[in-house]
């Protein structure tokens, strides 16, 4: 084997930006081509929106704002699911089966790995929210201003961050086989009790209090706030709760990461 000519390297050696971009691109492609991830991630929210946001909303006497409500909450639901599956199931699998070790032993900057997964989650989130918007505006007769649409997109896509952190924590504690089950068990009830399916105003009082401590409720509220359907709580409260939740998850993930370091494989 010949030693490669020096011209193949950039003058500054490897380019960090290039690594981050390639890592993100291939992480996205990896899941995009994986029907077990891509299909439920994209089709479930779409299907739910068609059922609840379009068909049920057409019943006589239904609240005319149902289509708008579900655009905001199912968008949040979709982003949460995309993040938990990409990070939780992804990291647990790659960690548990030894692939992450190969990556860690390489000169890959560790942050490139995690950033790529966040970008993947956000990209899937963006795709789904765009689909939901298309359905809402095109078929549901929902009217939003351009500014509202763009703000909603930004809120939903950035809303992936705390749930990526949660996925990371799950990924560092769950095994490769148990992670999908754990995420499936968690995300549906979490979304439901956070009012992403039914407004918490219709909940029994005790459950309304429970919703306040559930992070998806706060993302849902921020999204609803954009289209004028929020509970009126200030955005910084929602952001503070989501930020604190993300920080807690990152601390947990770090504990799991440390625990991994001491583990003996084989």
């Amino acid at each position: 084997m010949k030693t490669s000519p020096a011209k193949s390297a950039s003058p500054l050696g490897r380019s960090l930006l290039r690594i981050y971009l390639k890592e993100a691109r291939y992480d996205f492609l990896k899941l995009w081509r994986m029907p077990a991830y891509a299909l439920p991630t994209i089709l479930f929210p779409t299907m739910f929106y068609i059922l609840f946001g379009l068909i049920f909303a057409k019943r006589p006497g239904a609240d005319s704002r149902i289509g708008l409500y579900y655009l905001a909450t199912f968008g949040a639901f979709a982003v949460i699911a995309a993040s938990l599956f990409a990070l939780g199931v992804g990291v647990a699998g790659e960690r548990g089966q030894g692939w992450l070790e190969v990556k860690r032993a390489s000169p890959m900057p560790p942050m490139a790995y995690f950033t790529a997964k966040v970008i993947t989650s956000m990209t899937f989130g963006l795709i789904i929210v765009l689909i939901l918007m298309g359905l809402a505006i095109g078929l549901g007769g929902v009217r939003v201003t351009l500014a509202q649409a763009l703000t909603l997109l930004a809120v939903e896509v950035l809303g992936a961050v705390p749930f990526c952190a949660m996925g990371l924590a799950i990924g560092y504690f769950a095994g490769p086989n148990s992670a999908p089950a754990i995420v499936n068990l968690i995300y549906m009830p979490l979304a439901f009790f956070s009012g992403l399916w039914i407004p918490i105003g219709l909940f029994p009082r005790i459950l309304q209090h429970v919703a306040l401590i559930l992070p998806p409720y706060h993302l849902g509220e921020m999204a609803l706030g954009v289209v004028g359907m929020g509970d009126g709580e200030a955005n910084w409260v929602h952001m503070a709760v989501l930020g604190a939740f993300a920080a807690l998850c990152l601390v947990l993930a770090r504990v799991g990461f440390r625990r991994d370091e001491g583990k003996l494989y084989g």
Partner: protein, 327 residues
């Protein structure tokens, strides 16, 4: 280890550090490393030096500490005591990782990415990667560039993992049981690839279960058992260490009597369902022992004398070590 004459050992500056210029600079070393996992001691005061160039094979039974040693050298685990260095630096540093390539036994390789994509990504981590085409050729993956990892056969998957170790054009390669699961033909091809890397000045640290593989490839063999190095030498020397030949025969003599034979190094009774009286005796001068045997037992039967292969030498070494620990 070259012992320098007294005169040259004297450094005018008094800096003994200069001495390293007289011997090849090691590319990697474990310096009195102890690694414990909870109550389990995986490595005990291990001193291992990987010299530049050539193949160093790490042998040992399961649980001997091979994987731990490799993980420490890769910076994937931290030593409980002692120091680990690769290219004179912390193995976790970018400086040593960009000069190191790794092939580990692993699952979870993203199955939906193509061969070319895997190589494109891993190459981007290194400052001076091999052109992807060259790497594909070196690992024998021609024509499979567009194949997804999940569509590759077992042997092709191994070749991709090997290609990932190569793609950064590293100076040091860690190959952890690289030919596990390969058929004989594929293993030979792989050996040729490793030999070619050595000709290009690479240093290779190989762990393997196949003694034949270590014998064929390694310049030095380090035998680990129960967390300690019990032998470190060339394959030929290792074979001589557990030296002599094996006499297999069927005799009515008792084990105690056989042990008293002059020149018998070891007496082994094969497992119980073997023929009654079957025995194996290891001796340097097999003929002399055989003469004594025949004198004591004229009915001695089924005599067979064999030279040890490396595998047997290795078993002898680890067994002797285990015995001495159990006393």
């Amino acid at each position: 280890m070259i012992v320098l004459p007294e005169a040259t050992r004297e450094e005018p500056t008094g800096r003994s550090g200069r001495l390293t210029t007289a011997t090849p600079t090691p590319v990697a070393r474990l310096d009195a490393v102890t690694k414990t996992y909870g109550p389990v001691t995986a490595l005990r005061e291990v001193r291992l030096t990987v010299p530049a160039g050539g193949v160093l094979a790490l042998l040992g039974p399961n649980g001997a500490g091979k994987t731990t040693a490799v993980k420490l050298l890769l910076g994937l685990a931290q030593p409980t005591k002692g120091r680990v260095s690769v290219f004179g630096a912390d193995p976790r540093s970018a400086a040593s990782r960009t000069r190191t390539g790794v092939m580990l036994q692993t699952g979870g390789v993203p199955p939906t990415l193509r061969v070319r994509e895997h190589l494109d990504l891993f190459s981007s981590y290194y400052p001076n990667p091999l052109p992807v085409g060259e790497c594909v050729a070196a690992a024998g993956l021609e024509g499979l560039e567009k194949r997804k990892f999940g569509e590759l056969s077992g042997g092709q998957k191994q070749r991709l993992l090997f290609a990932l170790a190569l793609c950064g054009n590293p100076d040091l390669l860690f190959l952890d049981e690289p030919t596990t699961g390969l058929d004989v033909e594929a293993r030979r091809v792989f050996w040729d690839q490793i030999k070619r890397l050595v000709r290009h000045g690479k240093t290779i640290l190989l762990t393997t279960h196949y003694m034949e593989e270590a014998d064929a490839l390694a310049d030095r063999i380090v035998v680990l058992n129960q967390g300690s190095i019990i032998a470190e030498d060339t394959p030929a020397q290792i074979k001589t260490r557990a030296s002599g030949r094996r006499i297999r025969c069927v005799t009515r003599l008792a084990t105690e009597e056989l042990r008293k034979l002059s020149g018998a190094l070891e007496v082994i009774r094969p497992c119980q369902d073997a023929q009654p009286g079957a025995v194996e005796i290891r001796a340097v001068d097999a003929e002399a022992v055989l003469r004594q045997l025949l004198a004591l037992d004229p009915q001695l039967a089924e005599i067979e004398i064999t030279k040890p292969r490396l595998e047997e030498a290795f078993l002898t070494l680890t067994r002797a070590d285990d015995d001495s620990r159990n006393i």
